[in-house]
């Protein structure tokens, strides 16, 4: 009985010391211990591995080069005379396609793919993962740490690219700060779209990295997906449009869905009013619009843009691919948990 009461007192003392220690933990340590549980440590390490100033200085200019080329085509307005809203509309007309196709399309997805590809496949191949998993951390947290590091890198890169593109655009055209402020809704819509792309391609990349043995294979598969999405389906639609529609290939056409989601963000933020000046390019590249003549032949006025193909409601495209991204994320975790890690 005496022994029991001594034990109880000891227990209470230990718990109260632990409680006091916990109470005085710094916020970051508390978050690390209770919420992230070591995931933050993997995020920090991985982010340090995949990001560098040198990488940023190379990647950001590449992301910006094509939209800046589009800006060199002089618009038929004097930016010094128009309202900030009008200037923003003209600028968004110039940027909307190259940002979709290049900045947040081919380049961004390749960056995500090549950054994420080695994070699991290569660590398993070289043997560093064996040491990592021998430590008291779950594989789920290792996966999430690496996943979130790629996501964080993408968030930083797309933010810098999109908002510096906005600045450069305004500097080239007018140098007026009000023009930049008016452009912010458009830039925000682009940034939100970039988060969607980031989520989808990080999930694809990390799932592939969990199942494939070589990071090079992961990169090749990602690049193939990008080529098929942004280039191959374009030709199928252009050459055998009937075949595309009759066999309902749009279900599997990622390029179409990405275009659809992109337009969803443009429409929701009401930042790129309908106009054939940019919709024609989307009609050609993504199949979101039909090639129809909406220019009044007599007065040569744009009658309000092209008609949509409406294979999918844009919100459905968004939801479907978000669900796919979530499933790929879960699949990636599952595959890593089941994978035999041995060298």
């Amino acid at each position: 009985m005496k022994k029991l009461s001594v034990n109880i007192i000891k227990n209470i003392k230990t718990k109260s010391i632990a409680f006091k220690e916990k109470r005085f933990l710094p916020v970051n340590a508390w978050l690390s211990e209770n919420i992230f549980k070591k995931t933050d440590i993997v995020i920090k390490k991985t982010y340090r591995d995949i990001s560098s100033l040198k990488k940023g200085l190379i990647v950001i200019p590449i992301m910006l080069v094509v939209p800046l080329l589009f800006l060199l085509i002089p618009p038929a307005i004097d930016f010094g005379l128009v309202s900030p809203h009008h200037a923003a509309t003209v600028n968004s007309f110039s940027l909307v396609f190259p940002v979709f196709f290049w900045t947040l399309g081919i380049v961004f997805t390749i960056i995500i793919g090549t950054s994420g590809a080695p994070l699991i496949a290569e660590e398993i191949k070289t043997g560093t993962m064996l040491i990592l998993i021998s430590k008291p951390i779950t594989r789920t947290r290792i996966f999430l740490g690496k996943y979130l590091a790629v996501f964080l890198l993408g968030m930083v890169l797309s933010f810098i690219a999109i908002f510096s593109l906005g600045w450069i655009t305004v500097l080239i055209n007018s140098g007026n700060i009000d023009h930049f402020i008016s452009l912010i809704p458009f830039l925000t819509a682009l940034y939100l779209y970039s988060l969607f792309i980031l989520f989808l391609f990080t999930s694809i990349t990390m799932a592939l990295s969990s199942i494939l043995k070589k990071s090079k294979t992961v990169s090749v598969v990602i690049i193939l997906i990008i080529i098929v999405s942004f280039v191959a389906f374009q030709f199928i639609r252009g050459l055998v449009g009937d075949f595309y529609e009759s066999f309902q290939l749009y279900h599997f056409d990622l390029g179409y869905h990405l275009g659809n989601v992109f337009i969803f963000f443009m429409e929701t933020f009401n930042v790129a009013p309908p106009s054939i000046s940019w919709q024609n390019l989307f009609a050609l590249l993504t199949g979101v619009y039909k090639f129809t003549n909406t220019i009044d032949p007599d007065q040569r006025i744009d009658l309000g843009g092209l008609e949509k193909t409406n294979y999918y409601l844009p919100i459905f495209s968004l939801l479907i691919w978000i669900i796919i991204a979530v499933l790929l994320l879960v699949f990636g975790i599952y595959k890593l948990k089941k994978r035999e890690i041995s060298i």
Binding site: K38, I137, I341
Partner: protein, 321 residues
């Protein structure tokens, strides 16, 4: 149903631990029904290359799945976070993040081991100091020598203060000085924690360990203390060395209490298998005096772990055939 009391005394406990790679006709049994009962102390895990040592260790750390059977580290199921908190593991060929310094690497693994950064840094510096790597702490690991890399691998296994250290051929890629250094360190460590070390270099195991588990083709062939094993495998062979072995050999040949006697070609000594050892011991001094022979040495031949290992493996091979 596992009796908790019976498992409690073991650092590593396995019951019919089995690993099969592949399915159907292509299935390969890498480890078969291994029952380990590893008590506190330092224990060797012996076997030729491909015997299943690494596969067993990888199941214990949760790197690969267990096809059948159970494994526990103390009371915790192998592969769980709780079990991994108890173990420190050093793989056969430790690989590092070469762009990290020794200190950064240890802090990183320490934090994954549950230490707060400040404690991980303090512990890392203590370990770097004890492994004579403090001066090299800010150098990238890729610049470390082979011996330094092995030391940092051991330090990395110790950073979260495990209770059981599992080492997979820790001296495999080291030069003799590096080997001696690592063996000394492992012996030191075994004073404060249990060590389970795999190797195919028997002399090293003999230097380090109290008990050994020998496996071949994924099955345990011997599991006992080294002294017991040697006792079991002791042979009735006695070696005699005198100042005139050829002459004295002729004397021994005609003794009725000697079963076999010959001069060993390698060392020139007389090898005797007695029928009656007691009589041999009693009469040998008289014979030596009678024939004016000087005794240089006389002993029962000791068998190294190497001999026992080879004999056991060969026996097993022939049984399999």
């Amino acid at each position: 149903m596992i009796k908790k009391e019976s498992i409690h005394q073991y650092e590593i406990w396995t019951e019919n631990l089995t690993k099969v790679y592949g399915k159907g006709e292509e299935a390969l049994k890498a480890v078969s029904n291994i029952n380990l009962r590893i008590k506190p102390g330092i224990h060797g895990f012996l076997g030729p290359n491909g015997a299943g040592k690494t596969t067993t260790l990888h199941m214990l750390i949760g790197a690969i799945s267990i096809t059948e059977g159970k494994a526990k580290i103390r009371d915790e199921t192998a592969g769980t976070v709780a079990a991994k908190q108890l173990i420190g593991f050093i793989p056969q060929d430790p690989v590092f993040y070469d762009d990290m310094t020794g200190e950064e690497y240890l802090i990183y693994l320490g934090q994954l081991g549950g230490l707060q950064r400040i404690n991980a840094k303090r512990k890392a510096q203590e370990l770097l100091d004890s492994f004579n790597l403090f001066e090299a702490r800010n150098r990238n690991i890729e610049t470390y020598s082979g011996g330094e890399k092995q030391k940092i691998a051991i330090a990395a296994a110790l950073i979260h203060e495990p209770k059981v250290l599992i080492l997979d051929e820790p001296t495999a890629n080291l030069d003799p000085i590096g080997r001696a250094d690592v063996i000394r360190k492992i012996k030191e460590l075994s004073e404060n924690m249990s060590v389970f070390v795999s190797s195919h270099i028997l002399s090293e195991i003999e230097q380090m360990c109290e008990d050994v588990v020998m496996i071949n083709h994924g099955e345990i062939v011997i599991f006992d203390s080294i002294s017991n094993i040697k006792k079991k495998f002791i042979r009735n062979l006695h070696v005699l060395d005198t100042n005139m072995n050829d002459k004295f050999f002729e004397v021994l040949k005609i003794q009725s209490y000697i079963s076999k006697v010959r001069i060993n070609e390698l060392d020139g000594k007389i090898h005797i298998i007695p029928k009656d050892l007691k009589k041999l011991r009693e009469t040998l001094p008289h014979l030596l005096i009678k024939h004016n022979t000087i005794l240089l040495s006389f002993h029962q031949q000791e068998r190294s772990l190497q001999d026992i290992f080879m004999e056991t493996m060969l026996k097993k091979e022939s049984m399999n055939k």
